[in-house]
């Protein structure tokens, strides 16, 4: 069935409730338009902090806000929890499973997912980090690994349980490695009786010649030094060639190494969401190597001035050089620009092309430790960490009460406590591999007083 809303108002349909979609909707609040925001989920996810859920510092709800709640005061906006399956640019219709919605302007902001460079079989062993479910699965694996190590009697197997390999040295990989080091070397230190959690090995593997490749080289170096100090083994120029049977095969030049590890986390590649291909099929839009839509200077698709792509899904050539990175500030500015563009067009005006205002790059490494490139100044250490905290609180507060996150952080800061380290899920939390060899002693006896 096709349903074309008959209304005198200009109809804006936004697909995706991430930073781009949400800021577009919010910025259209006072414009004479009728907005429908469609998302498969009922909440906006603050992805920059997802690694803190994966490592047991925050709960999913701490970094999520219900879309209806955020937009309840935008009286011209409806939220629809549904999945878009196709677009018809001729009829100007967005198609879902059970209904269609007509648009005058369409904004697509469905983001990216992770990508295994053609090795999709690695996914089961090495989960990525894009959704709440991904984060909970990482959290489950990390904490199960310590539990399994505590029960394991075979020293080799125990070391495999205590080995954490993070593939990819971008911001997510750096943040994960730092947080797991904090966990193993500080938070969990006194919690186990059989194992010494400080024997954990945390390896961060990066294919390029330095961590955080898009950042200035001196910040990359500072990040590597800080991580090493935290206890992380950083390996650059290292390609992962296989992941199988709890073993990572890594190649550094001619040197091939097999690393036994029960916890392998993927922070390497990205791939555009399926809407990129859908748009290419129906509009003839060009896609880049990872499937992102190449957009015009006004973020529209060539030949379709009323279809816009923003956020991580868009490939926008910044200053004619390279595409803008997939970070929140880019999506936010793009969302606001489109809202303004649509409003001005309704008044018969035009706008100059989109221009991204640099706000800098940030990556947190651990407690009191981050790197920041703010354009006019490069920071590292405590000062960068301080900037990082404030930048994140600023964005969180914009959406919702995230006072709670501040309190959590404040508390964790002084206590090094991580309250959210729960192993949850439908499956029995004890992994099958955690079998103990019979050496006649229970793992609990190894440190208990033993009389023979």
């Amino acid at each position: 069935m096709t349903q074309v809303a008959e209304t005198s108002l200009h109809r804006v349909v936004i697909v995706g409730g991430g930073f781009g979609g949400l800021y577009a909707a919010k910025s259209l609040r006072r414009s004479p338009v009728q907005v429908t925001l469609i998302d498969r989920r009922n909440f906006h996810l603050f992805q920059p902090l997802l690694y803190q859920v994966a490592t047991g510092s925050l709960s999913p709800a701490d970094i999520s806000s219900p879309l209806r709640g955020i937009l309840s005061k935008c009286r011209n906006t409806s939220v629809l929890m549904d999945e878009v399956i196709d677009i018809d640019p001729q009829q100007q219709i967005v198609k879902m499973q059970e209904q269609d919605i007509a648009y005058d302007s369409l904004i697509v902001a469905t983001g990216v997912s992770h990508h295994y460079f053609g090795n999709d079989q690695w996914k089961a062993t090495a989960p990525g980090l894009k959704t709440v479910e991904d984060a909970l699965e990482m959290r489950r694996r990390i904490f199960v690994a310590f539990e399994a190590a505590e029960k394991e009697l075979d020293p080799e197997k125990r070391q495999a349980w205590l080995t954490f390999v993070i593939v990819g040295g971008g911001p997510t990989g750096v943040e994960l490695a730092g947080a797991i080091a904090d966990l193993a070397f500080k938070t969990l230190k006194k919690d186990f009786r059989s194992i010494d959690t400080t024997e954990a090995k945390i390896l961060l593997l990066e294919g390029m010649d330095r961590l955080l490749p898009p950042y200035p080289p001196d910040l990359s170096e500072k990040a590597a030094i800080a991580l090493t100090k935290l206890g992380v083994t950083v390996r650059t120029k290292t390609m992962v060639t296989n992941i199988e049977d709890n073993t990572v095969t890594a190649k550094q030049g001619d040197h091939v190494e097999h690393i036994p590890a029960c916890t392998i986390l993927w922070a390497a590649g990205i791939k555009a969401s399926g809407m990129g291909q859908t748009l290419a099929d129906c509009t003839g839009a060009s896609l880049d190597r990872v499937g992102r839509v190449i957009v015009e200077p006004d973020l529209s698709i060539a030949g379709h001035p009323n279809i816009f792509v923003i956020g991580d899904l868009a490939n926008f050539l910044h200053q004619g050089e390279k595409p803008l990175p997939g970070v929140a500030p880019v999506a936010v500015q793009e969302g606001k620009y489109i809202a303004k563009l649509i409003t001005e067009r309704l008044r018969g005006n035009t706008l100059p092309p989109f221009h991204y205002e640099e706000v800098g790059n940030l990556a947190v490494i651990g407690q009191n430790e981050a790197v920041a490139d703010l354009g006019f100044v490069k920071l590292s250490g405590f000062l960068a960490w301080f900037v990082w905290i404030f930048a994140h609180i600023y964005y969180l507060i914009e959406f919702d009460n995230k006072l709670v996150v501040m309190i959590q952080w404040g508390w964790s800061y002084f206590t090094r406590n991580r309250g959210a380290r729960l192993i949850t899920g439908e499956n029995l939390p004890i992994p099958v591999e955690a079998s103990s060899k019979d050496d006649g002693r229970s793992p609990l006896e190894r440190k208990a007083p033993v009389e023979v």
Copy 2:
């Protein structure tokens, strides 16, 4: 393989990390014993607040604490994440899948689960509330129901999506009904565009002649009045005879009613955990009607003075009358008593039988509204709610930093916001039943300005 720890210390094995097991372990901290606490989960769950997770006010981690964290300062205590499958009282051994542990004293505190009175097929349609996963499933269903109603065009189906039936008028049922009423009539009021959430029907069905049967009758009446005021339909003397195809069949005297409802929540029966039967098989312990172990005046099993059952799993005749209720204060006092008993026995002393110090009964109904029976005084309304808040914070703080919960509550109190209303899980969050009849108008148009 059988592993018997050789140690000069008296070995106490505790099965279950709920209130009973945890307080037993904590109270044994300074005794000359070696304690092993075994739990399938790695965290203690503060069950009295589970309904707040189910209704989107709190996150699982807010009401959970990692067992290792709570016990990290009890240096004589080891935590083992594992599942007990059998007990051998002759050899004094607790058996798990891959290892055995020897005990001198055994404390079993594995609690209860919910029970469908022989209608286990109802479980899929009417989930209960005992675990974190249960609570997240309830949360998913409640919020999916509102989303589905928003998209539903058929008025009958829409009403079924907006009908919430809670089976069982004990504290959990009362708390769930009150919280869902708060959600529908206050929190979500401005969030939807097509439906009016205040058209939601919330039915609380209780088989007995009044709510909260173990409480004094005047408090039951006050609870019913307060719930009715909140918008809940309370039906007592009402038996559920069938749950099928999103329909509850309820019988009140001779009157049989079929209630179409997409969200049916089970808060009716309890059944002892499987360890009850295990103990009966290996020790000859007597079980009551719901499978709880009937214990001696010192909480041991008859003929087995070193095996104790505490908490919800125990049936302890209070003052020779009726069994103690399955509430946290009972389990806490029992855990402390056993710790003291074991310590005194090691000194060659005995203790008088266990005596429960009444601390009262509490049930919260909604914001500012609760009932409390403190023995010397009965409270309702705001005062009871205040007592409830403080009683819960007291216990939460005992375990961990739950300052955050206080802040959450404080914030929700003034804003009526519920930040944790996420629909999560691996399944596509859109239910199949949410199909729309084709009336030629999209659900979004129903309230949108329409020009024909």
